[in-house]
Point group: C3
Amino acid sequence: MADERFFQLAGPFDLAELAEISGAAISDSDAKGRKFTDVAPLSTAGAQHVSFLDNKKYIAAFTQTSAGVCLVDPSLADRAPAGMALLITPQPYHGYARIASAFYPASALLSGIHATATVSDSATVGDGVQIDAGAFVGNGAVIGANTRIGPNTVIEQGVHVGVGCQIAANVTLQCCDVGDAVILHPGVRIGQDGFGFAMGASGHEKVPQLGRVVIGDHVEIGANSTVDRGTGPDTIIGAGTKIDNQVQIGHNVQLGQGCIIVAQSGVSGSTEIGNLTVIGGQAGIAGHLKIGDGVQIAAKSGVMRNIESGHTVGGLPAQPMKNWLRSVSAVERLGKKKGKTK
Amino acid sequence: MADERFFQLAGPFDLAELAEISGAAISDSDAKGRKFTDVAPLSTAGAQHVSFLDNKKYIAAFTQTSAGVCLVDPSLADRAPAGMALLITPQPYHGYARIASAFYPASALLSGIHATATVSDSATVGDGVQIDAGAFVGNGAVIGANTRIGPNTVIEQGVHVGVGCQIAANVTLQCCDVGDAVILHPGVRIGQDGFGFAMGASGHEKVPQLGRVVIGDHVEIGANSTVDRGTGPDTIIGAGTKIDNQVQIGHNVQLGQGCIIVAQSGVSGSTEIGNLTVIGGQAGIAGHLKIGDGVQIAAKSGVMRNIESGHTVGGLPAQPMKNWLRSVSAVERLGKKKGKTK
Amino acid sequence: MADERFFQLAGPFDLAELAEISGAAISDSDAKGRKFTDVAPLSTAGAQHVSFLDNKKYIAAFTQTSAGVCLVDPSLADRAPAGMALLITPQPYHGYARIASAFYPASALLSGIHATATVSDSATVGDGVQIDAGAFVGNGAVIGANTRIGPNTVIEQGVHVGVGCQIAANVTLQCCDVGDAVILHPGVRIGQDGFGFAMGASGHEKVPQLGRVVIGDHVEIGANSTVDRGTGPDTIIGAGTKIDNQVQIGHNVQLGQGCIIVAQSGVSGSTEIGNLTVIGGQAGIAGHLKIGDGVQIAAKSGVMRNIESGHTVGGLPAQPMKNWLRSVSAVERLGKKKGKTK
């Protein structure tokens, strides 16, 4: 069971409820009424716990688990230990995610504005909004219903935040529109000036950054990540895109929908990225490029050219994955040869 | 026109005013009195808009633009569409930056200390300073005239901030002196301890970091960047240097004037960098190096040796740019050869 | 002398006191009563100053210094200038660290809760704790004796912070237990959700992150670093480990004791790292790996495989250091060959 200082356990749920929550089918309709109290990994789960098998690496653990019920793909259902109930679905991990969320729901909001928060008279605050201690909401800002604004977070003037968002503590928002059901983790900075200068030996002249950041619904952005506003056009984060910690998104970048951007990577100004593209950790993408849909970019890659949809790349500079792997092997072979110093 | 929730449009300005603001020459003195209401890109500008041509890639757009007036280099003036006014200057982008700043000036400060801010009685606050909600200014700190201290920003004891600075929200300053007209974006951390330990298997002993950070005039530092204070000597950021988001500057680093440091790069302790040097994104520079003036370091480079003024380097480890490009070609060729596995 | 706006000088100390503080032996017992007023580098130290020789590069400076007393290894004591007192120890830099800390002790805490801080009635605050302006301490949180919570720092519900910690300004803590004598620099984010999704083309489903972060005693974490909480197991930072600025630690990572993690590096989810391992700046370590004790990982490396204790690696992907250095030489040679374009 998760530490109750931090997580509140709901339930129990019976098997019929779990099937509905997860969208999975019940293997044995006689078990519909059995009650379950928590989620747990295969190795530690007991008779009252829900577990799941998502990765074939864990089939052995699955065959030996004491879990009361498991989410499992139909093709592996016959490997289950005798007597265990099954929730059968082609997406066991998705089902588990929904069940775990049901057992550990987000805390209910404490509707209201904390006495130490500062909210402008001209701001609009929706029903059920929780604005925490020390938070600041500027003139003309709009906070959608059932959104939480964490302690000491700063929402500058005019910003719109959607419905059902979780804006954590110590966040800064300016010059941006945030969709619904968006999660911003602590220390996120959205909408500050992009890095734009008319450069010259006698001084770099600041170019006003007159665009915004537009963040789609269901976006999540990790702790201490930064998204600069556009120069005139907007910087855009497509709906459902998930961004990890310490990621940098430059001005005018357009990120598609459902992308996954892993920690400490960066996308330089004016680059356009399609939908469902994955960027590995510490990767960097140069500016003014076009990256397609469903592209996969290996961790630590340095992308300097356009990439068409569906391609996988790696290396510095990034090349097609197969070529990169061969380059790596060749370079490692060079490293194993001794005595060749000329 | 920029979103008026975030940007306030000034003007209109007539051509004579625009010439004065930009330092450009008017092509047609009869047009001096024509009025302009906004800036816009070549492709969307209309008769009342100011645009510019700075990059030869856009000559075609220039020849077809409907902009009322363009900033342009003298050598390209004859490509202008008939009837368009011109502001002629060898630095069209600099001119544009100044004109855009005139149309969209920074908001006037709301002089005063917000009721929820905490300012020590022993701090000195200049005329016209705006200290926002939840900000903290410690004992003996000095805030120069016409500086803004953003919401929930923390200025620890003794820190001096110059005149006309913009210190954004959620910033932390300690053990530092900040020059005039400095811009610090949200989440910047200046003056914390450098990473200094007397290391050993039985425990790493913390070495007191007894220096400061000294930041020159007209410096800009991007969101969530960090600058550690010196060990005894100071960490120095030269005047006019522009630092992007999520950059790390180690203790005792000396950055020259007018440098450009792109996002997510890092400079390790005690390295000295000259003037007008450019560091690409995600580059890293080892400690105790000397990097000259006007050096260009490619994105993602790992610099492990001193670099003389005027040189361009790239790669990991960084080598002269020409060599790196040849290395890259050679390695990519290795990656294209199949079947060579021994 | 360090800038007295930021650092308060204690002392003077006589030689007997310095010997006790540093654990070093006095070369000349007649000098026991000599008093010293400050620390200084060899090159600028005067008769009243304490200096040290730790690196053979500085032997020349040592032979010429005017310092009144130096910490020095026994093997180099005979190179001292005539008349200088010596504090003899095999660990001169450790001794210096202790003496410098005695001359410049941390400021005494101002016990109490600032009027603008928000501390829950159900929180437990130890003796001598200083809670600064705008700080927030949530329900059920526990703050150990003699800990400082900096301005605008946010301690969410249930978090335990140990005794004698320094939690700087603008920090966010949630779902974590922090040991004793821990130092967290400004902008550190601990305990936010790890980056966990059940991914799919029709949407990435958030997987609840039900673990914590557990931070050992004497840990130090640099400005704007981020440590995600575990998915169910905890993320663990071993005692005495020192983490630099802008480091990212993923969910379920287990870091051993006494590790050194340099700026802008990242450790991906579920990787286990032993004791006394050193990770260079901007290095990245893939997920689900096992890295042993005393491993050294070069700056900017990309680690994709397990590493056994005691090994040194470098490169992208990381290989044994000797091989990497040979690879680098070979690749640089390729870069110097002209005309070979096929």
